[in-house]
Symmetry: C2
């Protein structure tokens, strides 16, 4: 629980009110102006690479006791800075999501009703150690006409500030308000608490980080949240699967990157093919260093698989470990997913159209895949150009959250003097 | 604050879990099955009209000290019951919102990505005395494939139960789970508190009633809420307004029904036309019994208008009272609306396209009208066939909330064995 102090509440109030003022401006900024700000920010990042690396070095010196993985996430290099700048230019190339006419119809009385895409307003971004998120998130928020308040991990304060300075240079060059991209004015945890309760000042919270952070945010937030607490994704190898396809898809879905939310954590395989196919799948994955937690029916086929506990099927491994369960068809696969899944991404491998339809229709998950790797659940892979996160909630934006999902809509009703009877 | 008791938490947990089970079924029920349930419910309402009226009479006897207005809202008549049944048949005639393909595209790697409309899940409906809301809300939730838990005012318990029994008859006739439409098992306020905190069990809360109820719900809810706390709507008569159009629009926007959220509460009028037009507008409205609260510039034109306080401009009158302010153009009108408005509905009256565009683009409100009455902000008038409420928040569904807005989406990704590089 992030308790709120008076200081934090006051700081948040000041920041958020400035952000709302700025949001009203960037919401109406023409695409070329927003793109100019972004191009100038990218140029500033390249120009100031040395200063950013120095700030990052100071952050690293200041946190000597980090794990290697944490240190790697926190570390910036010239190539990583170039990647951030190039990523900004990719976003510049994307179409402006604001002002799109999402729907338009005419009523019998002649009223023309137009649904127009509009920015959400002020986004609160809460993330952990990756300094690059400072730029990635800010850039998507600006392109979609939103203001953003960024609250990153305290370990990356200096790196984030150095990157933020470049984003501000971009805003200045385009004559846009600097308050459109703000960094939390304090590392005080109480500021996070204030953000989560800022209904009416902050319109959406996007947490990005470990399950602990995201769950805490979801539990405390009074402001709407778009996020996923975990991605406990399933790949279901159906009786009518193409064996070779099943093998290449499972290897990719589990092992391409084991730490991403779209990686497969559990293999469900039909009994009808398990006796032949499961040993091959196990060999493929073992050759890549994958471990297993298997149910009794799977262990009856591959004897040396470690036994899975109930808890194993509810675990998002984010590692080279795969839970394995043998099932008898689509219904049992869906029942397992409904019980243990996180409504993130599930895939079926089959050549049987009816089975695929039954599986996809039976899912409540944000994304259902048919003969594709669960690791395709990603804003870039979806063609969004970029993503600020992935949402597994039930509200109106689900799956990869890109520029379109950072917009809501409003109506324009155009009449000729109609009065309501 | 609705404190939660253990009893209430347990009751809510039981109800919500049953609702989730039912939601999984109705989400996949074919349109003809849902429509059969609705037609049978309408038939049951007509068949059981006498029993419903008796239950309503008992509710009325049980609450002798009601205001006339409250009594009227609570009272059912044969014609009101017929209207409820006819309303259900109107919803039957609407297209099924579930399963619509909202977007579909193909990636360079051949993946076909399809965005498909899907019900939200379990809706929690919290409302006050109108018994008809029991049917209206339940019918929209069922048609959109959602389960619903209805918590109405304690004064209408018997009436709601009698109507609910008819809805259950419909579900039974169609072989749909009765838990898809539930009434709160207790009138205990603690049950409302439990609903508002049921993250993961209830997907959306829709409060309908007075500002007090809605504000309380918004403040307490951990579950997403679609609602409007108030509709402080403005009609702005621009310098280039057609005088006759301005007169008929304002009369309709203010006086057609003064108690609805889309009624105009404040008139903004350009100084350039106020001296001629304001006296005519005042006469029109006075003839219909409207009172005024006017700023000094307006009172300099029509001397006997009562003076407006700061607070008056922040007041949703819901009555035959109009706040009046003279402004100098679109920018000042927008500034006033941003300061005092509720982001519900605002209208501009003008023959000047540029001014209209500036006004509509400058609004953050859910609905902006041009040469039309603010009272058109309504699901029926928008062509949605019906509405469960109107949302003024910034999330992804705004304005009238109809069947489409009671759906979210999921993705179906169809491949041919693609793996992610």
């Amino acid at each position: 629980m992030n308790a709120i102090t008076q200081d934090a509440a006051r700081l948040l109030d000041t920041a958020a009110r400035a952000a709302r003022e700025a949001a009203a401006v960037v919401a109406r900024a023409p695409a070329p102006v927003k793109d100019l700000a972004l191009r100038e920010a990218a140029a500033a990042l390249r120009r100031n690479a040395a200063a950013i690396l120095a700030a990052n070095a100071a952050d690293l010196d200041n946190a000597p006791d980090l794990t290697a993985a944490f240190r790697d996430r926190l570390t910036l290099t010239p190539s990583r800075i170039e990647a951030i700048a190039a990523g900004i230019e990719d976003v510049v190339a994307l179409p402006d999501p604001v002002g799109r006419i999402l729907a338009e119809w005419t009523r019998p009385n002649g009223l023309v009703i137009r649904r127009v895409a509009q920015p959400l307003g002020v986004i609160g971004m809460i993330f952990e150690s990756r300094p690059n998120v400072t730029a990635d998130a800010a850039v998507l928020c600006l392109k979609s006409g939103n203001a953003v308040i960024l609250r990153g991990g305290s370990e990356s304060t200096r790196s984030a500030a150095a990157i933020h300075a470049c984003l501000i240079e971009g805003l200045r060059a385009a004559g846009l308000p600097e308050a459109a991209i703000q960094i939390a004015p304090t590392a005080d945890r109480a500021f996070v608490g204030a953000m989560l309760r800022a209904s009416g000042l902050i319109d959406l919270i996007v947490p990005r980080g470990g399950k602990g952070l995201v769950t805490r945010v979801m539990e405390e937030a009074r402001v709407p949240v778009l996020a996923h607490a975990e991605g406990l994704c399933h790949t279901y190898v159906h009786a009518a699967a193409d064996p070779d396809m099943a093998r290449s898809l499972l290897v990719n879905a589990k092992m391409r990157r084991t730490g991403v939310c779209g990686s497969t954590e559990t293999l469900l395989i039909d009994a009808a093919v398990a006796s032949v196919l499961l040993p091959l799948l196990v060999d493929d994955l073992r050759a890549l260093g994958c471990e297993f937690r298997a149910d009794d029916r799977a262990r009856a086929i591959v004897g040396d698989l470690p036994a899975a506990t109930e808890q194993d099927f509810a675990t998002e491994w984010l590692d080279a470990i795969l839970s394995v369960k043998v099932v008898d068809g689509v219904a049992e696969a869906l029942a397992h997913i409904r019980r243990y899944g996180s409504e993130h991404t599930e895939a079926i491998v089959t050549q049987d159209d009816a089975a695929a339809r039954e599986f996809l229709d039976g899912l409540d998950s944000a994304v259902g895949m048919w003969n594709a790797s669960t690791q395709f659940c990603d804003g870039f892979e979806f063609g969004f150009g970029a993503e600020i996160g992935i949402a597994t909630g039930r509200m109106h934006a689900r799956g990869p959250v890109g520029l379109e999902q950072l917009c809501t809509y409003r109506y324009h009703v155009i009449g000729t003097g109609q009065t309501r009877p």
